[in-house]
Every structure is written in C-alpha cells, then in structure tokens.
Subunit: 214 residues, 2 copies
C-alpha cells in the first residue's frame, strides 16, 4: 500500500490567485488591492486619484462590498470601467470573485486596475487576489494603535495612506507612532499623509503611484 505525504499545499484561494496573476501579467496591467477599515475613505481617495491620473494612464476599477453599488456608481461617474462585486456576506474579496468578473472589464486595454476591497482591517490582507501590490488606507480618526493591533494589513502593504489628515488638529492622535509602528512591521512600506478634503499630500501619493505602476 502506498502512503504519500503532501506538504505545503496551496490553498484554494492561492491557486486561483496565481491564475489571475498570470492573466494580469499577460495583459500588462498593474493590479492594486486597496484595503482599509469601513469609512477610512478608500473610495474618495480613489476618486481623487483617478481624476489626477486618468489622462495619463487607463484605469479600471473593481468595487467590492458586502451589498450595494454606491461605490461603483461614484467611480462610473468618472467615466472609467467599473464592476461592482457584492460578496453577499463575505467580509473580504477572494481570488475567485475577481476571476469571475474579469470578462466584464477591458483588461488588456488597462494600465492600472484598482480593486477596492470590502471595508475590513483583517481578512482582506489574508486573501491574495492576484494583485501586484496591496495598499492600506488608515484614517487618522481610527487612532494610532491600529498598526500593532492589525499587523498583517501593514506587513502585506507596499504603501500606507494615512487619510483625513486635515482633522489632525482636532484629534489626540500620534501620527508619528502610526509611522513608527508601520515601519517596524514593514521596513519597506511607503507612507503618505493625505487629505482628500484639502488636497494635501495627494500630489506625492499620485507621483509615487505613477512611478510604481510604470
């Protein structure tokens, strides 16, 4: 009788994520997985970013929400291709959800595909979608304890966008601690402080993004 031991098996999600990654590479599109808590301002950051780059790069968006299509309607108003995924309860996107909507986007015509994940600081960081880079958004209103409390999100991300920085004078939040803890978890993470209300910091973020995807 044969006893075979199989080690280090890919999970179902990783298997499909590898397939997506190949499709994206063949299509020559840079794929960014945008993650944050609910209400940190992912969609607003995405709107402001698209406005600033859409004449230079072709952008497409996949919106992930448990239910509803509000975010996709906002992106649609900017005249970029967008698909809304409703997970029907799941607290994160997974690779098969992405795989199943790729035919609804002009992938080969895109330079950048942004996948806006479900608002959640935990699970989205643990499920690969086939992206080249994860970016975490953290609103300063969430407090400076978040990197150490939700380390995987910060360990996995190539950049951290600290949002709503215009509220800094009204909050007792130590932004330097956020920076310090994020870097301690991930020494190569790039950190941007932005306000989509005042526009502060957006130029630096956009310049970095354009360099990264080119």
């Amino acid at each position: 009788m044969k006893l075979k031991v199989t080690r280090n098996i890919l999970t179902a999600n990783e298997k499909i994520a590898e397939g997506n990654q190949k499709i994206f590479a063949d299509a020559g599109v840079f794929v960014l997985n945008l993650m944050s808590s609910p209400g940190a301002g992912k969609t607003t950051l995405l709107e402001e970013t698209i406005k600033r780059i859409k004449d230079r790069v072709k952008v497409g968006v996949i919106e992930g929400d448990i239910a509803g299509e509000d975010d996709a309607i906002r992106i649609d108003a900017l005249n970029v291709p967008v698909v809304q995924i409703n997970t029907g309860g799941a607290c994160h996107l997974d690779a098969n959800m992405i795989s199943s909507v790729l035919d609804d986007l002009p992938i080969t015509a895109l330079d950048l595909l942004v996948i806006e994940n479900v608002g959640n600081l935990v699970c989205p960081a643990e499920f690969k979608l086939g992206e080249q880079m994860k970016v975490a958004v953290l609103s300063i209103t969430e407090g400076h304890d978040k990197p150490l409390k939700y380390p995987v999100m910060f360990q996995e991300s190539g950049a951290l966008v600290i949002s709503k920085i215009d509220l800094k004078p009204f909050l007792d939040v130590d932004v330097e601690k956020i920076r310090r803890d994020a870097v301690s978890l991930n020494p190569s993470i790039r950190i941007f402080e932005v306000s989509c209300k005042t526009g502060e910091g957006l130029d630096a973020w956009v310049a970095w993004l354009l360099t990264t995807i080119s």
Copy 2:
C-alpha cells in the same frame, strides 16, 4: 461606461469543491468528511470502522493534519490506500488540497473515501471539500456545552458520533443534553454513542454507514 453588478459569487473554495464533487460523482465514490476537536478519536473510530467494513466495501483515506504522518501510518497498517496532507499551518483542509492529491488515490476503484479533517471544531465545517456528507465526532470528555458553542459543525453534519462513551460513569456530562442540542440545531442529524475501547455502539454506526453509502 458600463457598470455591472455581480451578486452571490462563489468563493474560491466553493468553486474548487464543485469540481471535486463532480469528479467523485463520476467515479462513483461516496465521500465522507470526518471532523472533530483534536483528540476526540477520529482516527481510532476510522480504524475500527475500516476493520469492520473493508471486506465489503473498498475504502480509501485522506488524512489531514497540520504536520506529521502518524495518522496515515496507522491507516496504512490496515492495507487501505491513504494519502497524508500536511497543511503547513492551516487549521482546516480546503477543496484545493483535496483536488491536488486525487491522482494519488485509486478513486474510481473506491466505494468510500473518508477525509479525516484537521482537529478543530470550527473551520473544517465551513470549508466544503466536495464531500457528500460530513460526520462530526464529539468525545463525551469535551462536555455537553459543545453543540451550542460550535453550532455550524452540528448543523452541517449528517451524523454525530459521540465517542469514548465508556468514560460516562466517571464524568459529570449530560449526554442527553448533547443529543437534545444537536437535534435542535439539526433535526435530521443521526446520533451514535460509541466506545472504540469496548466496541459499544460500533455495530449500529457501521450498519448505518453501510446503508448510507450504498
């Protein structure tokens, strides 16, 4: 611009589980996903079951553990085909892990394939493998509060095997409460009380199993 809303998407795991289910149906093999806490006696129940049925049905086994191959060696000693999966940290088997070892088993020659999941009362119940039935094992030493504390396991299972019933005189455990709560969660669940030490209850369990898979 096109806005498309996609609802009720299959997860990556469900997608691969559907593929497995089709392979098992085509091969004519009944697949049983055996789940419990660590140390409830899944492997011992499986050994005793195999001894009693292997002259009548062709049995194969997939052993799932975070690490190690002890369980597969025990099954191998009974001269039935067995593959050991080491998840390398994951607390449950998933559909892709099963898919990736199917070539190592003589699936089409089997009547029954038992998948012994990783010892864990939570996650194994949430990840379909492509099986036709789940069976939960609960040792009476775990206490009578378990069905209400871990409801999904009991809701998803076609049968509950209450094990180590020989220890009943020495424990302050209300087995009737386990039965009552399991049935309240899942009115169609079949419940067996067994002791692999004394053999009590094994005939009833085996008779039911043989009827179910035929």
